[in-house]
Structure formats: C-alpha cells, structure tokens
C-alpha cells in the first residue's frame, strides 16, 4: 500500500484530497491529511467582517466536514518534515511515512517581523483583517469609531489575496458614507509599490478610482518601523505618516515547519517548478497553494486552477510518465469596490488583467476591469460555491487555463 501524505487541510490541501481520492485506487493508495487546526476558514470572507456584512458564522466550518470519504485525517501539530527519510514527525513524536508528499501549509501574517507593530496597541489602534480574531476586533473598533485618520498599509509583497487591501479601503469609503461619517474620515492607502494599480492596462482603466473616492495614496512607502505611541508609520527614507486607526497587512510568511525542515526560501515558501509544483530538491515532494514560491498571486483561485493541473500530472508522475500539463499561473478574482459593485480580473504569469468579458456558461458573461453589480453578486455567490463545490472537488465550468476569449488585448 502506498501513501500520499498531504500537509495542511486548508483550501489547497482539501482540494488535492478531494480531487485525487477518486483518481487513485483505494486498494493501492492510502491518502492521509494532517492539520493542526480544527477549523476551516473561508478566508475571502474575512474582508466583510469588519463592516458587518458577514458574521463569523459565514466563514467558519469544521475541517473534518471536508475530509473526503476514504481519506485519513490526523489532527496534530507537525514538528518536522524529513524528506530524505520520506517521513514527517508530529509534535508528539509520531512518525508518519509517505511515498509522496504534498505540502499545502499556506501562508500567514507575521506582525512580529516589523518593529513596533506588535504590542499593546495591536487590536486597539492597530488592526489586521487577515485572521478571524483580527477581523472581529476591527469590526468592534469600526463600530465605535468617530472618525479621524484611517491608514491602510502593506508592509511587503507577496501577500495573500493581493487585492484585499484595495477592497478594504473601497469598502471603508462606502461604510463611512452609509454611517454619515465620511467627511470626518481621512482614508490613506500606503503601499511599497509605486501605485495602487501597477499593471499598465489596469492603471489606465482604474487609475482614477482612488481619487474619485477621495482616498489618499502614499506609494513607494517602505516601512521601517511603527511608532505605536506616537501613532505614526516611519519609512526607510524617513517619511512619516500619522494615523488614528492603522489597518496593516503584516508581512506574510510560509509555515515554520517548512523552514525548520530546510525546505523553504527566505520567506518559508517551498521552491517548486512553477509549471507542475514539483519540489526543486525532491522528486516525491510537491508544494501547492500559498505554500509554494510561485510568481503569481497567493489566492484560493490560483490554488483551485493549480490543483486541477496537479491532479492530472500526479496520476502520470506516479506511473513514471512525464507531467504533460503545464500550469500557466491562472487566477481570477472578484474585487469589491463598494456600494454593491465589484470588479473582476483574470490573468496569468504572462498576461496582465485585460478588459472585456469573462464567459461563464449558464450565468455569465461577467465584465472585466469595470465596476458592475453583477461582479458583486458573483463575489457573494462564491461563498456557496467554495463550501459546496470547490472543497468537495466538484468541477466548476471554469477552465484552468487562462483563455483570451472575450478579452480585449489593448497591447500596451
């Protein structure tokens, strides 16, 4: 009996188990999934919690509910991966042997990596919305806030769901308008990149969105430290930004297990072939989802398309056949822009987000790079799709390969 071991039962790991179980013979293959957390979070929903659009019950279900039939699930902390020995050591010392390993341990925020960020003000005047606890604390803070300077800052790329900070600032604009407080709130978007929109075509179509919504932009801001007592951000080139309420996107890093096991890069992401997710070091180790060092967005949508490619390749790889499918870095994301509207972007490693239409049989088409109500509803419907289709390994009518159909190639 051979064993496929999956580390992490989040979006990517669960989809790998759900897609591979029907493809591997039950008598020949055991599939085991290990995760230390009992709860599965619908992470795209964290964004809505600070504004009271979602409550925690919208984004939380037990991980055990999504373990496919015929897959063994171990809830335990992982201490170490020993790839040379083909085994994983759990925190209680148990050794779990494998024939093939899939690392899907994700990425998480590390406020402790930035001087001054983590301290007594965290959860009071400094907030994040990348954890359920963070999003809940922020919801409380916003409910009672009477106005002032709200600053959103991104510490460093890459981050999980790179459009979420923009969505947050758009939703904040709408939220304070609805509360009749907008004239008392100054909104500032602070980024280490040279703009809120850095791709030429997106910048051309959406470049005025911040100005239209009266949101200040502070580009090229590379944070050195936070002065939590004085409530200001200080950059390496000694610029200072005052805030009353700081919403931070802390540094994102992969799992410490990856680092401890000598399998990660400087950010604890696993170096893999970006076409097929095979480790650059070991022929029986893959990393998929946010845990991999792919040059594309860290997002569930990327994981979804990646898992489809991975599934086809894996059944060939174990037979000693070449992996024919090549991942193109495809991602598509709805971007909430406030007041019941949203945008949609679709892109891959080589093609930046383009305008036009995104065909979807039976429902679509959706409009790309433009605010529409339908895009908002697409985003809201996605929660159901995630829980009921995606995590169950049920096919969606979305090709994993990015298609040019409907797109207008403006060829900047």
């Amino acid at each position: 009996m051979k064993r496929l071991l999956i580390l992490g039962a989040g979006t990517a790991g669960t989809m790998v188990a759900a897609n591979l179980r029907p493809r591997l013979d039950n008598d020949e293959w055991k599939i085991t999934m290990i995760d230390q957390e009992p709860t599965h979070y619908y992470q795209p929903g964290f964004l809505f919690i600070p504004f009271g659009i979602y409550t925690p019950s919208d984004v939380v279900k037990p991980k055990a509910d999504f373990v496919p039939a015929g897959v063994e699930y171990i809830e335990a902390e992982i201490d170490l991966i020993e790839p040379a020995e083909n085994r994983v050591v759990l925190a209680d010392g148990t050794r779990v042997e494998y024939d093939y390993l899939v690392i899907a341990t994700g990425t998480s925020i590390r406020p402790d990596e930035t001087p001054g960020l983590e301290g007594p003000e965290y959860g009071k005047t400094i907030h994040d919305f990348y954890t359920l606890e963070g999003a809940k604390a922020l919801a409380e803070a916003l409910r009672f806030w009477e106005g002032g300077k709200l600053v959103l800052n991104i510490i460093e790329m890459p981050i999980k769901c790179p459009v979420a900070p923009l969505e947050f600032i758009f939703l904040a604009d709408a939220y304070f308008q609805d509360k009749g407080l907008r004239d008392k709130v100054e909104l500032t978007y602070v980024t280490p990149l040279d703009g809120a929109f850095t791709k030429p075509i997106a910048a051309k179509h959406l470049g005025n969105l911040l100005e239209d919504k009266n949101i200040n932009l502070e580009p090229d801001f590379y944070l050195e430290r936070v002065d939590a007592d004085e409530k200001k951000l200080v950059s390496y080139d000694e610029r200072e930004i005052d805030y009353d309420l700081l919403i931070t996107i802390p540094l994102n890093m992969g799992s410490d297990v990856v680092a401890r096991s000598g399998l990660g890069n400087e950010m604890n992401y696993v170096p893999v072939d970006n076409k097929n997710f095979l480790s650059k070091k070991y022929d029986n180790v893959f990393a998929i989802g946010d845990a991999a060092d792919l040059p594309t967005s860290k997002a569930g949508s990327v994981a979804h398309f990646a898992v489809e490619v991975f599934t086809e390749n894996f059944v060939r790889h174990i037979e000693g056949l070449p992996m024919l499918e090549e991942f193109d870095g495809h991602a598509n994301c709805f971007i909430e822009s406030g007041h019941g509207k949203g945008l949609l972007i679709d892109f891959n490693y080589d093609t930046e987000p383009l305008p036009g239409k995104y065909p979807l049989p039976g429902i679509g088409p959706f409009t790309l790079l433009r605010e529409t109500e339908m895009n908002h509803w697409g985003k809201m419907m996605f929660k159901w799709t995630y829980w009921n289709m995606l995590l169950r390994g049920k096919p969606l009518p979305l090709p994993h390969e990015m298609l040019m159909a409907g797109k207008i190639d403006e060829g900047v």
Binding site: E156, M157, P158, P162, V163, L166, P192, L193, D194, F197, T198, K199, P200, A202, L206, D220, Y222, E224, Y236, D237, L251, N265, E266, M267, N274, D293, P295, T296, S297, A331, C333, I335, I345, F347, Y349, P353, V412
Partner: protein, 105 residues
C-alpha cells in the same frame, strides 16, 4: 512595445522605460540607465545588487523584493536606500533591466 535607443543600442522598453527583454541588457547599458535616473557612477554595492537581481530573476521569474535582496542577496535595506535613493525597488529594477516590482493589478 516601443523600441528606443540607449547608449547607441536599440532596446525594447515598456511605457515607463523599463527594459522588457532580459537578454538585451548588458553592463554598458546599466551605466546608461543609471545615469538616466541621476546615478552617475555604479559602485561595488550597485553591482552587487544588479548581479544578484539578474541571477535571481532568472531563477525565480520575478524581480526580488527589497526584503529578499537583504535576506538572500545580503545587501541591507538601509544601503539600498542610500545607493538607489527614494525609490530603491523601482530604481534597482530599472538599472538591472528587469520589470519593476508589481502587484497583480
């Protein structure tokens, strides 16, 4: 994509002047690109950054972040701000003939 002439060499650039073809870059061009953005002479630290960025890009398929240049390339962020003042991420990419650091949109 526009084609332009820098230091007597024809190169492909994007609308912001960043080289778009990895192989069109060479050391003479780097000096020209640097002088375009007010860096009159490339010193040892500049070259250390450029060399790291070029080889890292080939491996990774994207331009290294300042944090990666510090952690893997061994050039402290403070130094980067001294030798590529104000906008090091943008300037070091420009001189190295690589795309600027970008988001997905």
């Amino acid at each position: 994509m526009p084609v332009t002439t820098i230091g007597g060499q024809e190169v492909n650039v994007d609308d912001e002047g960043f080289l778009t073809e990895y192989d069109e870059w060479n050391e003479e061009l780097a000096a020209e690109l640097a002088s375009n953005i007010g860096i009159d002479e490339l010193n040892e630290d500049h070259w250390k950054v450029i060399t790291f960025l070029r080889s890292d890009f080939q491996e990774q398929g994207e331009t290294a972040t300042l944090r990666r240049v510090a952690a893997v390339g061994g050039i402290p962020t403070k130094t980067l701000f001294q030798i590529f003042p104000k906008k090091p991420a943008r300037k070091m990419s420009y001189v190295s003939g690589l795309p600027k650091p970008a988001g997905c949109i």
